[in-house]
Symmetry: C2
Subunit: 319 residues, 2 copies
């Protein structure tokens, strides 16, 4: 099968072995997939990953149990043991025995086929297109902010970063009617925010006021956290969404002095994300900058590095 493989470098591989589903697993034929900042980081060496890259996709179950067979599905990326203390305690996404699709010890979805445990698959309603369904995984991660941190109409909240993740988080938060601003560098994406009724602020015009109840750091830059500490109010919350923050010089004294709550946030609720797409509460379609066939994956990765592009998709197979 066709696949995008990370080994010494990233390469398109026209004849990669088709995966075999194990017990309790399904074989899924991939329709489309999305390139995420984590994929770009993996290529730079993050997680030391080797194998098929990719973790955001929509596909059709080619082999599996009757309730899933031929269903169009999105897929949770943590493949967990369902037996350990954390799984049994309801913290399965933190299973220490987990593999992670296209990120850690598990071949990913930038390929014609991918295998995944039945329990990870979520049927996607017909009203959600393939292009939209690709966003289920990152949109779920965006909704995780709401799962971890109470957001009400009165909540003053700022999203730092107007890239892929920032725009999804901002749109998820917008559904709560909170007092929302987005800080970014890119005029195009800040304009996108304004069109969605979200105040966009260019980082150079930012006035740090320590008055925000919640700041969500989605920029992935070390500078982002420093800005977050300047914006958040005493006893406020900073949600840290970017996994690829590199080791950088950081002075955390403001966290202590202002008794800030810094909250790490990762994968989120698929149900919320699918539901938001089905009722069109979030516009992901306008975020798609380019779509490439899988054969042009390297070109697609280059496009995803370009900050003028928001989301770049890969197309594998028709529905």
């Amino acid at each position: 099968m066709r696949a995008v493989v990370l080994d010494k470098g990233l390469r398109y591989e026209p004849d990669y072995p088709k995966p075999q589903p194990g017990e309790g697993q399904c074989l899924v034929r991939v329709h489309m997939a999305g390139i995420c900042a984590t994929d770009l980081q993996l290529v730079k060496g993050y997680m030391d990953f080797k194998g098929v890259v990719g973790h955001e996709f929509v596909g059709t179950v080619a082999s599996g149990p009757a309730n899933l067979k031929n269903k169009r599905v999105a897929c949770e990326i943590n493949f967990v043991c369902r037996k350990c203390e954390l799984c049994l305690a309801g913290l399965a996404t933190h299973c220490p025995n987990r593999t992670v699709l296209g990120i850690s010890n598990q071949d990913g979805c930038f390929a014609d086929y991918v295998v995944a445990p039945e329990h990870n698959l979520h049927p996607v309603p017909d009203s959600v297109s393939d292009e939209e369904a690709v966003f289920v995984e990152p949109l779920a991660a965006a909704y995780q902010v709401l799962a971890q941190c109470p957001v009400e109409e009165r909540t003053k909240i700022t999203v730092i970063g107007s890239g892929r993740l920032g725009l999804l988080v901002a749109q998820a938060l917008k559904t709560k009617g909170c007092k929302l601003t987005v800080v970014g560098r890119n005029k195009k994406t800040l304009t996108f925010c304004e069109k969605k009724g979200i105040q966009g602020i260019h980082v150079d015009k930012l006035v740090a006021r320590q008055d925000r109840d919640v700041v969500v750091e989605c920029s992935g830059a070390a500078e982002g956290l420093t800005i977050a500490m300047e914006l958040v109010r005493p006893r406020g919350t900073i949600v840290l969404k970017s996994t690829h923050a590199e080791a950088g010089a950081l002075n955390l004294a403001p966290i202590v002095v202002n008794e800030v709550n810094l909250l790490g946030s990762r994968c989120g609720p698929f149900g919320e994300a699918i539901n938001a797409l089905a009722r069109q509460a979030v516009d992901v379609r306008s975020m798609i900058s380019k779509t490439f066939p899988i054969e042009k994956a390297l070109e697609a990765f280059k496009a995803a590095e370009d900050r003028n592009n928001v989301k770049v998709l890969l197309k594998m197979n028709a529905k």
Copy 2:
């Protein structure tokens, strides 16, 4: 009056002007005071402070309203406006107009006299000696951990750092009967822990297991936070108590991946601390390594830098 003054460097000053209480303020004659890690940091340039150093003390009200006159008192260190949004919202310790005793724009207590707002003063019961009462302020900061973070008998909790602050935090936590360990470098203070029924672990013998519900970072070293991230369980809490963490290379990816809650923690409830000392729930007396007369303050600071000493006190005046 006699005072310990920070200017270009730290000096003992035999003839410093006696402070004049303003409206709503008391003049307090200082009995004894404690040297804290923050004082050592101030000398190194933290906060750019100039003036009389010191913020942990016990003294007697020399002039003030009838209900306080001649009372022995401990003193909250944040001098706040009581008018701003944060003060009115019940977050007075975060008042943006605050001065901080011996730390920020406010002469401190390493002197014969100090002035403080009436509202900051807490009478100390006779059952608590001067030596013990000096610990009210840092012990209150230790109790702040309990005010911010639920700790129960079943809570697995580790304190990193067996210095002044670590030992106070550990003793405050011990009163909750939780599953408690202290990680440190100093055999003497780890032995102190063992005597108090708290398991002490030398940092070189530490096995990182990501199984602690709560980790309290009291070491002030950048390494302390890294160790905390290795010890805390997914979705656990790290309480950051050390204000003097310098800007250092830090990889916060584990915070995101394990969805850890990093909680800054500063000043705390004086009532809890005074009560703990009065009922002898916490042993601070054994933590006193040396006591110097105020004239020997520079020697006292040197002693406080020595990791073999836990708490170093200054003596100004008899009761």
